[in-house]
């Protein structure tokens, strides 16, 4: 059931029903179905339209600031004494993370569809900030749903969104984190379906979102291929990225899936550790279920009730993962690891001090596994880590944790 449809490629999914093997699909209320089909059509039409691609390319270059550099982290490389470590600097994008790549694509699509009201969910606030930014840029109404817990721990981003003219709605239902923000955004969408475009922030949700968001984020991997070719004259040997829903990882991985020499590692958030049960590692500690429009690995109990995720990082604090990652896990193309809160905190401090780059706590999870993987590799091994976001938003939270020690 999970075998690739074309055995020569890992890049042919999803099928016409939005499936990656058994994962993905369109598990939504009937009210939303016509709109999801309309979105799929609109996206297919945009993909075939050179004007849309030109608009995207212009926006990515002049507004987002792409290409983002591929930077050789020399001190980090020396510190670990193994692989040559390259950082893909997505944190240098306008708004400070990879999220803007996807938002630009969706907002341009929303404009083509004539939608003037944009809603989004956000965890750490990075996707919310990116959405608020592009809504400001294009004069669109923007409503961002954010769990009340995340509103408290990501205060700088809440203020940024408000500055940009967005309405931030704290979500008090359920666990008051990212999954509840997504529930509330879906409730808004079902209510305001005629006027509203739902700008989903990750490679999850009903088809066509996982594929569409992946396509928008794949600029990360495409640039990395070119840049590595320029810098080293060949492909990288390994790729590492953190995973909440998994959009930065999918964006880096997808263009390399059919290159068998490239090892690929995704890093989930292990919170207090997988055995503790307090984590956000859906692949490592969950099983397949259906939530938020797609079948994917989820944290859930025997009755199918969704369990609370836990992570120090609000952006990874989600009990699911994009369906294509679930499929890549099951077919074995990508190896999924995890990093604890503590390991992420250490990596956060290490890279700040060694490279003068303060990473987002999300990205610090990927860097935490680099600490383990890099020393095992020879000096000529080329390792690319996706530095998906900058850590300014995390400084108050990290300062508080460190002060408490």
């Amino acid at each position: 059931m999970n075998a690739p449809r074309n055995p020569n490629t890992y890049r042919s999914g999803p099928d016409e029903n939005g499936r990656f093997g058994m994962f993905g699909g369109r598990f939504v209320a009937e009210t939303l179905m016509p709109l999801i089909l309309e979105l799929e059509q609109a996206y297919d039409a945009a993909k075939a339209d050179p004007a849309y691609h030109a608009e995207m390319a212009g926006g990515l270059k002049h507004y987002v600031g792409r290409p983002s550099p591929l930077y050789l982290a020399e001190r980090l490389t020396d510190h670990f004494g193994g692989a040559r470590i390259y950082l893909k600097r997505e944190e240098l994008n306008h708004t400070g993370s990879h999220k803007v790549n996807n938002v630009l694509g969706q907002i341009l699509l929303a404009r083509r569809m004539g939608k003037k009201r944009i809603i989004a969910e956000t965890g750490a606030g990075q996707h919310g900030v990116a959405t608020a930014t592009l809504c400001a840029r294009y004069g669109l109404e923007c409503i961002v749903y954010m769990g009340a817990v995340d509103v408290a721990r990501q205060a700088p981003n809440v203020f940024r969104m408000q500055m940009l003219g967005a309405t931030v709605v704290p979500v008090e239902s359920g666990t008051k984190t990212l999954k509840d923000a997504m529930n509330e955004a879906l409730r808004d969408w079902v209510t305001n379906v005629a006027t509203t475009f739902y700008c989903i922030g990750t490679v999850a949700g009903p088809h066509p979102y996982p594929a569409m968001v992946r396509d928008f984020q794949s600029i990360i991997g495409r640039e990395t291929r070119e840049q590595m070719q320029e810098l080293e004259g060949r492909l990288p040997d390994s790729l590492i990225a953190c995973i909440g829903g998994g959009s930065n990882a999918m964006g880096l991985f997808h263009p390399f899936l059919d290159d068998p020499t490239v090892e690929i590692y995704g890093v989930e958030a292990a919170g207090h550790g997988i055995p503790s049960g307090l984590h956000a590692a859906s692949l490592t500690g969950g099983r397949p279920g259906v939530l938020h429009g797609n079948r994917t690995y989820l944290l859930m109990d025997d009755d199918g009730q969704i369990k609370d995720a836990h992570s120090i990082s609000a952006g990874l604090d989600y009990p699911g993962i994009g369906p294509e990652h679930s499929w890549l896990n099951d077919v074995g193309r990508v190896k999924y690891l995890s990093a604890t809160d503590e390991e992420a905190l250490e990596a956060f401090q290490l890279i700040s001090k060694l490279e003068g780059i303060i990473p987002a706590l999300e990205s610090a999870h990927a860097l935490a596994r680099v600490a383990e993987l890099a020393p095992q590799k020879p000096r000529d091994h080329l390792m690319v880590v996706n530095l998906s976001g900058r850590g300014d938003k995390d400084i108050p939270q990290v300062a508080e944790i460190l002060a408490g020690r």
Binding site: E30, T31, M33, N183, V190, H292, D303
Partner: protein, 281 residues
């Protein structure tokens, strides 16, 4: 199945039509506020005037529900409700001799986690008549709809204001029992759309199907029920009933001796409201 070869749902709608009135379809959440009280409510619904019972299966992430049904699900989950216990409620209801049709309503994941095949076997054996699974549109019929129909359980679909004439045939294709017309775009418990628009929509659906059409979302009072009953074969009431449960609880959120009657008294009012509207049989 009844002796005439009709399902319990079919014969109940037929019986209401023969009386020249719409059917009252009541929604309560299984296990709200606790297993015993919810069982008592369930068993009291037929006498109070419910013609068809929708029994909500609690889920942690009810994406299409408004606050009243979200809270009802949270109360039930907190009190330890599971799909297994929901099936046990239905089993006890049937053992008590009730023949009111029961439709389980909820989201797919608890059923998927239970195991589709095992769930359908158990549901059929226990006496569940139909399913409404909010997050399974026709595009996902192979998941549960087709196996359910094969197992002899009706699969009731929601049609919404966004379901246009082009899409209606697809939505109705594997629907059985009745069609549940959601009278507005939105989550459960919102404000009702105009009654004229509802009547027009029902007429539109009926051009595509012979199934009874029940209308829900936004029905709160006997007057609402009567107004909807004019144009529909059934009137669905949910949020207003679970709000009655909530308002009857004590300060600790526990059931009181008023909880069951708070629900049944509203059901009786709604049943009376529906009976004020006479329809050609």
């Amino acid at each position: 199945m009844t002796e005439t070869g009709q399902t319990r749902i079919q014969s109940r709608f037929a019986a209401c039509a023969a009386q020249g009135r719409a059917a009252l379809v009541t929604f309560v959440t299984a296990g709200d506020p606790d297993f015993e009280t919810a069982s008592a409510i369930l068993n009291a619904l037929p006498e109070a005037g419910a013609d068809v019972i929708e029994l909500g299966v609690p889920f942690t992430d009810p994406m299409a529900d408004g606050v009243p049904i979200q809270l009802a699900g949270q109360r039930a989950l907190k009190a330890g409700q599971t799909l297994k216990r929901t099936l046990a409620m239905v089993e006890a209801f049937r053992k008590a001799g009730h023949d009111t049709p029961i439709v389980l309503m909820g989201y797919y994941n608890p059923i998927w986690a239970y195991g589709v095949e095992r769930f359908l076997q158990d549901a059929r054996r226990i006496g569940v008549d139909g399913l409404i699974v909010v997050d399974l549109p026709p595009e996902e019929d192979v998941e549960l709809c087709l196996p359910a129909l094969e197992a002899g359980i009706s699969f009731i679909r929601l049609a919404t204001p966004t379901t246009d004439d082009k899409r209606l045939p697809k939505v109705l294709s594997n629907t059985s029992g009745f069609v549940y017309y959601v009278s507005m775009t939105g989550v459960t418990g919102g404000a009702i759309a105009s009654y004229d628009a509802v009547g027009d929509a029902v007429a539109r659906i009926k051009r595509h199907t012979d199934l009874p059409v029940a209308v829900g979302f936004g029905v709160k009072t006997a007057a609402d029920a009567a107004a909807i009953a004019k144009g529909a074969d059934g009137v669905v009431v949910g949020s207003a009933l679970v709000e009655r449960v909530r308002l009857s609880l004590d300060a600790d959120g526990k059931a009181t001796d008023k909880t069951v009657s708070a629900v049944t008294s509203l059901v009786a009012e709604l049943a009376a409201g529906i009976r004020t509207v006479s329809k050609a049989a």
